[in-house]
Subunit: 567 residues, 2 copies
C-alpha cells in the first residue's frame, strides 16, 4: 500500500474519509490508554485518530476499537484447512495477521511446499508472514518427504513475507554448535532476519548458548519461572494457548504476580483445531483468558497486537494510529473480548472472501500419498515373552515406554481392547518401510483409524484391533490422497480427506470441521477413552522428539536415549 495524497488529505481534514469509526473507545498501544475518538480510514490505512467525518460513518458509541490480532506462531496445517480457509476461519474472531511456520507441509514437499504456502498466502484477507522450517527432517531416524537444507532455504530469505527461521527445535545441536543448523542460523543472521526458538526446559548456560546463536523468541515455556529466565536471557515469550498446549494461565498468572514488564510477551496458538477456532475464536481467546485471570485488558490487547508487530518488525501493523494498516477489531466489551466486527485494510473482512477462491495446489502436493500396497501379512508382529509397548499418557502427548507381555496367537501379537496394534507406513514413495508395535491406552475396538498426519514426517500411521480393518483404513488413505479414515468391520465409517500434502483439506472449513467432528464422535463410540483425542494423540505417536517411546517407519525409537530400540 503506497503513500497516497488522498490519505494525507483525509488526515489533515481537507476531505472526508472513506470510512470513519465514530466515537469509539480507542485502544492506544503506545500509551496504553483508552480514549474516545473518531478513527478515519482511507485507502486501506488509518488516516487519523481525532475528530473526523466520512462518506461512511459507523457509530461506535460504547464499543472498543483495537488493532487486529496477531498470532506470533502458528502451524496453519494443524487446522486441517488450506491457508485460504484458515484465513476465513481466524479472521472472523479478529486475527488479521499470523506468523506461520509451514513445518508440516515442508516435511512432505520441501521447497515446493514452501513456495506453495507463499503463493497460497499471497493477497489473502489475512497478513500471512512465514518462517522457514529449520528442522526438516526433524530427526534422521525416520523417512520424510523432502529435505529443506540451508541451500534450499537461502533464496526464501530474500522474500519480504519471510520473516526468518522457524522454531529451531534441534536446540541440543545449537548448544553443541554442530550440524546443519549452524549454517541456517548464520544465513538468517546475515539476512538480518528473525530466529524463532523452541527449547522446552532449556536453562542456564545451555540457554545462554541458544541465545548467543541469535534465537530471540520462545513459545515452549510451560511455567512462569521458565518464561522469566528466558525473558532475562533476551527471549520474547510467546504465550501459547492452542488446542494441544495450554500455557496461558501459568504464564499470565506468574507475570501478574511478578510485575515484570509485559512488552516482550506475545500471544500464539501454535496448533489450533477448527472446532476450537469456531467455538472460542482464535487469538481473541488468549486475550479473553488473560483478562479473566486479572490482566488489564489493554495490556492483553498489546500482547495480541503491538508487542508482536514490534518484535517481528512489522512496522505498519499492531496499532490504531495514523499510517498503520486499517486492520481493526470492534469489541463489544473488554471482559469477554466479544468481537462485533473485524476490518481488514479498512473493509469488513468477511466481504473480502466473497467471490474469491483458494490458490491452486501443485499437482505433486495433491498426490503426495505414495503408499506401498500393504497386506494383512505385512502387519504380523512376532512376539515371545515381554516386548516393548507404547503406553499413552492421559491428556498428554508424551508416552511411556513399557516392557510387558502382550496377547499373542501362534507367536504373533493379537490386539484386543487393551493392546491396540500401531502401524507406521512410509508414504513418500521412498522405501516402503513398515513398522508395527503394540499400543496401550488407545482402546479402539472392532476397527481401525488411519491418517497421513503423523508428525513430523507425516507417514501413514494407523491404530486398530484387527489387521483387516487396519489394511482397509490405510488403503483408503491412499485412495483419497491423505486424511483421516475410520473403519469398522470392513466398512469405512467416516473420513476427513486432506488432499493437500495429506495434511490440509481443499474444502471449506465448516465442512472440514463437520466431517472431523463426525469421525471423532464415531471413534469415541469405539472405545477410545475420554482423555485421548483419537486424531491428535495418534498423529503424535510417530514424533521421535517427545519422550518416551515412539514408532517411526523405521521401527521403535527410544526418545530418552535418542536411539532406535534394539531387541
Amino acid at each position: 500500500m503506497a503513500l497516497t495524497q488522498k490519505l494525507l488529505d483525509v488526515s489533515a481534514g481537507r476531505v472526508p474519509a472513506e470510512l470513519v469509526f465514530k466515537n469509539a473507545n480507542v485502544i492506544n498501544v503506545f500509551t496504553r490508554e483508552i480514549r474516545t475518538a473518531d478513527v478515519a480510514v482511507q485507502d486501506g490505512r488509518i488516516a487519523g485518530v481525532g475528530s473526523y467525518h466520512g462518506r461512511t460513518e459507523r457509530d461506535c458509541t460504547g464499543l472498543y476499537l483495537c488493532p487486529g490480532f496477531i498470532d506470533a506462531h502458528v502451524h496453519i496445517e494443524s487446522s486441517l484447512a488450506s491457508p485460504f480457509e484458515f484465513a476465513r476461519a481466524v479472521t472472523a474472531s479478529g486475527t488479521t495477521t499470523v506468523i506461520a511456520d509451514p513445518h508440516e507441509i515442508v516435511n512432505v514437499g520441501g521447497a515446493q511446499a514452501m513456495q506453495y504456502m507463499l503463493d497460497a498466502a499471497q493477497d489473502l484477507p489475512l497478513n500471512v508472514y512465514l518462517m522457514l522450517p529449520s528442522s526438516v527432517p526433524a530427526t534422521p531416524f525416520e523417512t520424510n518427504g523432502a529435505d529443506f537444507t540451508a541451500q534450499q532455504l537461502a533464496p526464501f530469505l530474500r522474500d519480504p513475507r519471510v520473516l526468518g527461521l522457524g522454531e529451531v527445535m534441534c536446540f541440543p545441536d545449537v548448544v553443541a554448535a554442530r550440524g546443519d543448523i549452524m549454517e541456517k542460523l548464520a544465513l538468517t543472521q546475515q539476512a538480518d532476519k528473525h530466529i524463532d526458538g523452541h527449547a522446552p526446559g532449556l536453562s542456564g548456560q545451555a540457554l545462554e548458548a541458544y541465545a548467543a546463536a541469535g534465537v530471540h523468541t520462545e513459545h515452549e515455556c510451560t511455567t512462569f519461572d521458565e518464561a522469566a529466565e528466558k525473558l532475562r536471557a533476551g527471549f520474547a515469550v510467546l504465550v501459547r494457548e492452542g488446542s494441544a498446549a495450554k500455557n496461558l494461565s501459568a504464564i499470565v498468572n506468574g507475570l501478574l504476580e511478578s510485575r515484570l514488564p509485559s512488552d516482550r510477551f506475545l500471544f500464539c496458538t501454535d496448533d489450533k483445531h477448527l472446532d476450537d477456532i469456531a467455538r472460542c475464536g482464535h487469538i481473541r481467546w488468549n486475550v479473553r483468558q488473560a483478562v479473566s485471570l486479572g490482566m488489564d485488558a489493554v495490556t492483553a490487547i498489546c500482547m495480541a497486537s503491538w508487542n508482536a508487530a514490534r518484535e517481528y518488525g512489522l512496522s505498519d501493523l499492531g496499532a490504531v494510529a495514523a499510517g498503520y494498516r486499517a486492520d481493526l477489531v470492534l469489541l463489544e466489551d473488554l471482559r469477554e473480548c466479544a468481537v462485533q466486527a473485524v476490518y481488514k485494510d479498512g473493509v469488513p473482512v468477511e466481504t473480502l472472501f466473497e467471490g474469491r477462491s483458494a490458490a491452486p495446489v501443485p499437482d505433486a502436493l495433491l498426490h503426495s500419498v505414495h503408499l506401498a500396497d500393504i497386506t494383512e501379512r505385512d502387519l504380523a508382529l512376532a512376539v515371545s515373552g515381554k516386548t516393548h509397548v507404547i503406553e499413552m499418557v492421559p491428556y498428554q502427548i508424551t508416552t511411556r515406554h513399557c516392557i510387558e507381555e502382550v496377547p499373542a496367537e501362534n507367536g504373533f501379537f493379537k490386539p484386543d481392547s487393551v493392546y491396540t496394534k500401531l502401524c507406521v507406513a512410509e508414504r513418500h514413495g521412498k522405501n516402503g518401510n513398515l513398522a508395527v508395535c503394540p499400543l496401550k491406552g488407545y482402546g479402539i475396538t472392532n476397527g481401525a483409524i488411519a491418517t497421513s498426519v503423523a508428525h513430523d514426517s507425516h507417514n501413514v500411521i494407523a491404530a486398530g484391533d484387527n489387521d483387516a480393518d487396519l489394511v482397509l483404513a490405510m488403503r483408503r488413505i491412499r485412495e483419497i490422497g491423505g486424511g483421516y479414515v475410520l473403519v469398522s468391520a470392513g466398512r469405512v465409517l467416516g473420513e476427513v480427506p486432506l488432499r493437500i500434502g495429506g495434511l490440509m483439506s481443499t474444502e471449506p472449513w465448516e465442512e472440514i470441521s463437520q466431517k472431523a467432528s463426525d469421525v471423532l464422535s464415531k471413534a469415541k463410540e469405539m472405545g477410545i477413552p475420554y482423555p485421548v483425542d483419537p486424531f491428535t494423540s495418534l498423529s503424535f505417536l510417530a514424533l521421535p522428539v517427545i519422550p518416551e517411546l515412539r514408532l517411526t517407519d523405521r521401527g521403535l525409537f527410544d526418545v530418552n536415549t535418542f536411539s532406535p530400540v534394539k531387541d
Copy 2:
C-alpha cells in the same frame, strides 16, 4: 560479526571466555532488573550472563554493567570534529552507537558528502548509522552547495548502515502532501526504512497527517504535553539534551508525573559541542540528568540503549545479553552515572583508536569555500529613515524583526556597539551573492567574527563593527578553507580551521576544543553579551526556518510570512 563456534563454546561453558566481567551488577533491559552476575565476552559478542570464567577477568564487584549508550539523533558536524574525532570524544563517556543525520555537510557537498560520511564512519570504534538528509536545500530562499534529490538519495537507501530518511523538517509540505518530499517518503517506505520527524509544535490533524506519511520519531518536543500527544499519535519521543536545545527536564518531569510507559522514549543530543562533551559526557549526561529528576536509573539506561535499538531495529545492540554486541559501559554508581570504563566489541574503547587515523577527505570537501573577492565597498548598506533590523533574543536562537532607525553616515549604515553589521556571502562558487543588514544584540566592538558554519546552506556569515575587519575575517575564512575567525583592528586574533566542508576540523578534538575555547573567550572580551554564544548564535542567523527575521545570501527573509523582505 559472524556467528562463531567459539562463541557458543564459551556460552555453554565448554571453554573459558576471552574476557569475563566478574560479579557485576548487570542492568537487564528486558526485565528492568539489576542482578549480580558474570558477563562473558568472546569474539566481540556477549557469550553469556551467569557464572563464567575467562582468560582475562575483570572484577566488577560494586560496579554496574550496562549496554553502550545510543544517541538516537545527532549531527556530528555540530561538534566541529571529524567522524573519527567525534567517535573518540563521545565513546569516552559510554556512547557506542549514534544515529547521525549529516544534514550540514550534505548541504555543502551533496551526494559526495553523504558518501564521505559513510566512508568516514566505516569501521570506527563507534557504531555510526546514518539517516539521509531529507531537506537539502532547506528552503528555496538561499544558495546552498548542492541539492540532494530523491533520485540522488535512493541508492543510499540500500546501504545497511543507512537507517532511513533524516528529520523531515518541511512538515508543512508533508501535511499539504506536496513537493519533492512526497517522493522521498515513498521511496523510504518502499525500502521499509525509518523516517525521522522534526515538527516543533505540530498538533491535531496536521500531526495525524505527518504520522500518516510514515514519520515515526520526533525530537523537537519542548513540553511534555507535546510529547504525550506525539506519543499517542505513534511517534517515539527523542528526549533531547544538547548544547543548544535542552528539553530533558520538561519531558522527563512530565513523564514521571504522567506514569505513561517509557518504552518509546529515547535520548538524543541533536547538537553538542566538544567542550560540553568533554565536561559532561555525551548521552551519559542525559541519563544522569534524568536520574537527578527522580527517574529510576534502569529506566533511564533503557532510554539510552534498548529503547533506541528497538525503535530503529538494531537487533544486536542495546542489551547485556548473550548474542548482543559487547558494547558495554561500567558505571561506578547509578546516581551520578559515573563512567569507569567503556568497551566496544569487548575491547576497551580507547585502545581501539590507537594507531588508527581518520578516513581521507575528498579534495572537493577540503576545498569547499569558494568565496568571491569581497571589498569594503561591497559591504556598504544604504539606509534612510527606519530599516529592518534583526534583534537577537537572549538564550534563544529565535530572533525579533525590528524596524527602527540605525546609525548612519553619508546615507550608509555605520555600525556601533549596539548595531552590528551582519553579512552573508555565498561561498559555494555559484553566484557571489552578498547580503548585509543591521544586527542588534550581538555587541561586538573593534572587530569582526566570520564563519563558514551558517545553517543550513553554510555560506559565510560575518558580524562586526567595521568593514575592514569584516573583510579581513571573511578573506581569512577563504584562506583557511573554512572555520571560525576572530579579527580585531586588522589582526587575526584567533581561528578554528574547519577544512572538511568548512564545517569539521581535521585536527584532534582536544585541539579543536582548545582553539574554540580561546577564540570564544577573546570574542567575549570584545563586548558580546553573556547570553549570546558568539559562534552558535551567529551560525543560526542565516537559517530561514526559525522565526522571525533572518539574513541569507539573497537578503533578509521574514520567517513569519515565509517570504523575502521587500523594502
